[in-house]
Amino acid sequence: MGISDCPRERIERRFTERLDEPVHLAHRSIAGEGLSDETAILDFDRPSGEPLRLVVRLFRPGTVARHEVRPERLHRLLTTLSVAGLPVPRPLWFDPDPELFGGPYSVVSWQPGSAVVPWSPEGRAYLAEAGRGPIGDLFVRLLADIHAVDWRALDLGFLGVPGPGRGFAEARVAELERYLRRVRVEPEPLLVDALGLLRNQIPPSARTALVHGDYRTGNLLFEDDRVTAVLDWEFAALGDPLYDLGWVCCPSNRIGTELVCMLLPEETLLTRYERCTGTTVNRTALRFWVLFHQVRHAVMWLEAGHSFESGATDDLRLARMHYTMPIMRRMVADLLEAA
């Protein structure tokens, strides 16, 4: 069962209880293009006549990097961030009970704006143009704002406070090694080589900050010259801010272009980030995180193929990732050669 085939009456009954007002489901559409969860937009009629639009996210097992995702923690984080002034969807409730949709789900307020698929021809053209305007600045400023969140004051310690110095990077590399061991089907000497290099060059964190974990243009909503929301916080953690910058600059996020996240030249991004944060980006440490994320992305690809092969999912998009695994390996190989 999913959101799209759940009987209307059952949704109305549950949402009426939760919202504490009678609502009638007028329309539902699947919005999620993501690989992991099912996301739907539900439009309700209310007695006041004012329409209500909600976004429901159904968490599914058996996809990629699920070991890093805790739906309840995500809800708690968004609840905190929505009152801290960051542009995030306003969470309404989280329901761990699979009875309604077949899995735990969360409900957030709908946000205006459009998502962009960065690697589509249209997305690529849009972002290259947008990067030359205010969105090019906003993209960097928002990341700096996330990293500037006073996580102690907001009591975000539930995300897990990393050890000092090299603690965060060491833990991440160890977790990635375990992840690879769990999902690999064939030998992966290139990835093992890269992990060896990472283990050998672990940088200390200059500071501990809230990191988004998947910050990229594909996880933002755009409207005119504004970014209306930062989405997909499921990989958020407390850690080295360079963790986010490394993913932004990762080859996976600039396929076929020199623009990071299809938006900005790398040095422009880094210079603006340094200006916004008043810090200096350690380029050597940044290269570490770029390689880390490229390996992590490759391992996610491996897991996708493994999930399909084992019958855990019939999602063809995951099978497609399996077939394109050589491209992932090539990106890792390129970084190793440049190291």
């Binding site: 089907v185 064939e186 030998p187 992966e188 000497p189 290139l190 093992v192 080589d193 992990l195 060896g196 290099l197 283990r199 050998n200 193929g305 399909f308 092969e309 019939d314 063809l316 099978a319 399996h322 077939y323 394109t324 050589p326 491209i327 390996r329 090539r330 190989a333 190793l336 050669e337």
Partner: protein, 138 residues
């Protein structure tokens, strides 16, 4: 590995279960039905092409032999197969050679001063295998 049979059947199932119900144009629907039918026939006629694996296995085995001949004991030990049996198929030979290379890489990175010269050589050999993989995808 996802076998061609598994992939073709999954595509066929997706066309029939997810795509067809969403298509309203009758001409397009008949194309989807025809495509699903063709995929069903291709399942019976498609086999994994492992010719590339034979080329790759040969290159990898040559390199493994060279490293074993020239290398110190830790290299030889890492390259030794735990099972001691040689696979018969090209794909099996390639995987066995890659396993040996992976053991060697992991062992080198355990050294206080890993041999970067050998690691660079290994990367060059792995790049040749990667090029063979890349030739098989669009």
């Amino acid at each position: 590995m996802i076998t061609p049979e598994r992939a073709l059947l999954a595509i066929r199932q997706e066309l029939l279960a997810r795509v067809l119900p969403a298509v309203t144009d009758q001409r397009a629907r008949s194309s989807v039905v025809a495509a699903a039918g063709i995929l069903g026939e291709l399942v019976l006629q498609t086999r994994e092409d492992d010719e590339w694996a034979a080329r790759s296995a040969e290159q990898l085995e040559t390199a493994v032999h060279r490293w074993r001949e020239a290398g110190p004991e830790i290299v030889c030990t890492a390259l030794d197969s735990p099972s001691g049996t040689a696979p018969a198929t090209p794909s099996g030979r390639r995987v066995a050679a890659l396993e040996a290379v992976e053991r060697l890489v992991a062992r080198l990175w355990q050294e206080p001063e890993p041999s970067m010269e050998l690691l660079r050589d290994i990367r060059t050999v792995l790049r040749a295998d990667l090029d063979e993989q890349l030739k098989r995808i669009r």
